[in-house]
């Protein structure tokens, strides 16, 4: 039971990271209707920028951990958001009214570009960082000496995710930008006729998605203590799986899907085999889609003739 509780905590933390990335996929899909294949690599770039900012701050002699974390968070969000904006501007905007496969292939190309750009710019080797946040709480001490622990970094990941989600939900539901985004999602032509700047709204969607991915990248760096240029691919596929599992286009669905994928992965590794954890996650995706073709919270697509 204690073991299960510990795995549950680990799974929820991992799921929060996946959920943050999945929101970027689902938002872009909702508005533009394309799979942003480069999003996983945006997450990776976010991790790298967080790492570099952290190194620079430490070498300047900063020691206050909360201040460092805040600066790293803001810098990586800002620069990664610019990456998101640039990718949209270069690779997707010219293809917006093209046929459906064109932006997707362009996105796959962009993903290759970003992966290899990081490899060329920062080298192929894994970049380890020493644990920045240590310590934690012991929640429960079991009879056989097994302790359920909640580390500080896990608390930070979950709290940051919850705060960002609250902020993001408020943004989508109560601001001008959120209203524009929802309008564009329903009907771009109509929205533009009613004075919504569609280009700007779509750009902002990419910017917000990239900023959330940057947070996920930073959390990943803090939690696992490493980044490498190839981590975007697997994390991207998992997050996309999460978005589809929850019902693509649905924001709560993305978070739910992220948590589920995180839990499945952790529990499978804990009770069955570590090697097949990804196989388990993907198989469950396929099984869910057989019975619920539009995901858990997705709206069924009504087909008009």
């Amino acid at each position: 039971m204690d073991y299960f509780a510990q795995q549950l905590i680990n799974g929820l933390v991992l799921g929060s990271i996946y959920g943050l990335i999945a929101i970027g996929y689902t938002m872009v899909y909702g508005i533009v209707g394309m799979i942003n294949f480069a999003h996983g690599d945006i997450f990776m770039i976010g991790g790298f920028i967080a790492l570099i900012t952290f190194l620079i701050l430490v070498s300047f002699g900063l020691t206050a951990i909360p201040l460092i974390l805040l600066v790293v968070l803001l810098v990586s969000m800002a620069i990664t958001a610019l990456y998101g904006w640039t990718v949209e501007r270069i690779a997707y905007r010219p293809l917006r009214h093209s046929f459906r496969l064109a932006p997707m292939l362009s996105a796959i190309g962009m993903s290759f570009v970003l992966t290899n750009y990081s490899q060329v710019a920062q080298g192929a080797r894994v970049k380890p960082v020493p644990p920045i946040i240590t310590g934690g709480y012991t929640l429960h001490e079991g009879s056989e000496g097994f302790v359920v622990q909640l580390s500080n970094i896990q608390i930070i990941v979950v709290v940051t995710t919850i705060v960002l989600l609250a902020l993001f939900t408020w943004l989508v539901s109560s601001t001008r930008l959120g209203r524009d985004m929802r309008a564009c999602e329903q009907d771009q032509t109509m929205a533009s006729l009613l004075g919504v700047d569609v280009d700007r709204t779509i750009s902002m969607t990419f910017v917000i998605g990239a900023a959330l991915a940057a947070v996920a990248g930073m959390m990943y760096l803090l939690y696992y203590g490493l980044v490498d240029f190839f981590m975007g691919f697997v994390a991207g596929i998992k997050a996309f799986t999460a978005a589809v599992l929850g019902g693509i286009g649905s924001l709560p669905g993305a978070m739910l899907g992220g948590l589920l994928i995180g839990l499945i992965e952790t529990l499978w590794s804990a009770y069955f085999s570590v090697e097949y954890k990804d196989v388990a996650a993907f198989s469950i995706l396929i099984v869910v889609l057989i019975f619920l073709p539009t995901g858990l919270l997705g709206r069924p697509e009504v087909e008009k003739v």
Partner: protein
Amino acid sequence: MGRSVSAPPAAQTSRAPGAAFILKKALISAFVALVLFSLMIGVRTEAGPQGQLVYWTRFDDLAVMVAAVFGGSILVELLRRWWGPVDAVRVVPPSVQSALSLAGRLVAPALLVFTFLVPVLFYNERYILDLAILVLTYVMLGWGLNVVVGLAGLLDLGYVAFYAVGAYSYALLATNFGLSFWICLPLAGILAAFWGVLLGFPVLRLRGDYLAIVTLAFGEIIRLVLINWQTLTGGPNGVTGIPRPTLFGIPLTPADDGLAALLGIEFSPTHRIVFLFYIILALALLTNWVTIRLRRLPLGRAWEALREDEVACRALGINTTTTKLTAFATGALFGGLAGAFFATRQGFISPESFTFHESALVLAIVVLGGMGSQLGVALAALTMIGGFELFRGLDQYRMLVFGMAMVLLMIWRPRGLVGHRAPTVFLKHSQAISSDLVKEGHG
């Protein structure tokens, strides 16, 4: 407020950009580049000798990159001005048009004849022969995937799974049971087709992008199983010592019972390369022939109808389930055959050869080929693989250039390199239709 989405791009470019405008745009681009590259290029991190991270700055590289973006931005803007609005219709005179269509009709036969003659022309150039075999393998994969994506309109991001199934089927059957290539080849194809049907079942109810992610997940599952099922597949070490194909049981070796000895000629390793070349050429042509024939059958017509409009298909009484399944199985069959060939050519396979990158490459070939055009797919394979080879010397920059080329090609020709194709059904006379009119179905 804001520009209308439906406004053509011409409306934005019609106001001739002056020098000030171009300069402003270049300055903005350079500033964006400065922010983007500041940390990623300006600072280099590496794990130090004690395992801790160290960093050093590279501001000269950063300056070069920003200057390049500034200059590139001006150049692009000038080119755009010189080229004129993107959407302007360029009138082609009828004489040029007819000459072009004649050339278009001659390209395919000329290319075919040339391909047949490649081993003769380049007999002494091993590198070109190897490259030609590689290109033909991708032509075959492209034609196979074309059935699924180009004809039936089902988006498949995991095509490499069938390639892997074919390759491992042959490798394992040959190394464990000693079966020959010619027995294993159809078996590999059938096994891959079987996996196609297996994947097809969950796919039937899915549409569009859900299908894309399921096929992608399937491709990853196959790869992960190949890596982890070490007792069967050898895991990351792969399968070695895969036997080479024989000519009616005669091996192409320097041994006494080899082909060279039987014919009384001097043995040369090039014989085997030429033999492999003709095998893959035959396999590719088989794929092409079967596809062309199938397109004329009710089944092929149903595929194309499915791509255009699934609802109409159902209303007309087409069984969409079997239609999708056959498309998947046919595509998978050819993928499996190509995989078996890959295994016998390499003599060694490992899961590393079957990554998502391969699926993306084949899909790019199909889309650049114009979604459904057989000639277009062949030309796209030649362009992509040939272009990829040109940058072999650049090593780590190769994938970077490849990704950029993919983005630029999509922006330049989103409809593919060959934008026209002849319809299989026509009322009075066959007229080439622009592929702009070919809608991609919902999957």
